[in-house]
Symmetry: C3
Subunit: 143 residues, 3 copies
């Protein structure tokens, strides 16, 4: 292991509360990998929040709309009344369930100092509860 | 890499068969990380079972109840009759599908010898088929 | 870290378009681990595609049938008309959502030069859009 670079990124999750948003963070992750000097290894990209996701998929806005609609109509409707978590004063239980479904982190392989992605693979941050400033940790391991 | 600590943990999954249970294992994972002496790296926390999950989310009992209800009513109802897997003599096909949805492992970053979590992030074991003694592997890599 | 082996594997995804297929790739992953010479570490197994999954579960054909049925009836029906992504000329939006639900990669621990799996754990490639030649990256880190 030559070094282990650690960075975080602030995500501004839209202009209003509860904004659901999908943000392509591939270029920022690639910049962290370049900065680390690692040639062969892994990069962990992980949301530091329990109502968000990090995932690898396609840079296509129609698909992003499909994902948001699917989260609402199929995975976990926002409807605060159905969740006990919301008796604590929150109303974002659905965002937790969306985070659990898609996951909150990915590991991307690094080969020859680059993100070793297949065709169309990109890495995204998914904000399911757009209330606060958000952070993503990007951590590189390898040599 | 200075060392690579490997541990397993027995999970007692409640008192009856098919108990669905969510267990906070953060302190035990943190203890393994401390024991490893790793300052910068990753810890893998992985269920050694195909009817269980490991995930990062919130220590809030109302949310845990929401997750269990959501798994039953939305993700994969237990109802043994709907699954071909259960023709083998099992009745836990739903537990497999719940494991696939939430995932069976997480990677947590280690920074300055600590679990590098955001606010409220904790790591949990989810038991979806409470029949047998269960194990979680905790493996640290870094330097 | 003694070395970091990187391999890809072609997956022939059945004979027709849109073939949904679950393929046990454990032996090929184990062979890559053996070739790497790594005794203690991690292996990343990651689909290089955005309409596929890699997951750990059970080698049981009834369960595989349950997974395929569940993806179609509960997770994301294929029905191309419901998705905006398909206005781009694709018809595989459902395959993207299935990939997001199950995930596209796993990390498996390596202990004493072997995949450190619990009982019945095996690693699978899930093809949700059987159109093209597919690749899985297998990358080992450790010492």
């Amino acid at each position: 292991m030559r070094n282990c670079e650690c960075g975080t990124r602030n995500v501004s999750a839209g202009v209003g509360p509860r904004v659901q948003e999908i943000i392509d963070i591939t270029d920022e992750v690639a910049a962290q990998v370049a900065k680390s000097g690692v040639q062969e290894g892994f990069v962990l990209v992980s949301a530091m929040h329990i109502t968000a996701s990090v995932f690898v998929n396609d840079h296509e806005s129609g698909l992003w709309a499909d994902i948001l609609k699917w989260l609402e109509t199929s995975v976990a409707p926002w409807d605060p009344k159905r969740y006990r978590h919301n008796e604590t004063g929150e109303d974002n239980a659905a965002a937790h369930l969306r985070s659990l479904t898609i996951g909150h982190e990915v590991i991307v392989p690094i080969t020859a100092a680059k993100l070793d992605f297949g065709p169309w693979q990109r890495v995204f941050y998914g904000e399911w509860d757009g209330q606060r400033k958000k952070r993503v940790i990007v951590k590189v391991i390898g040599e």
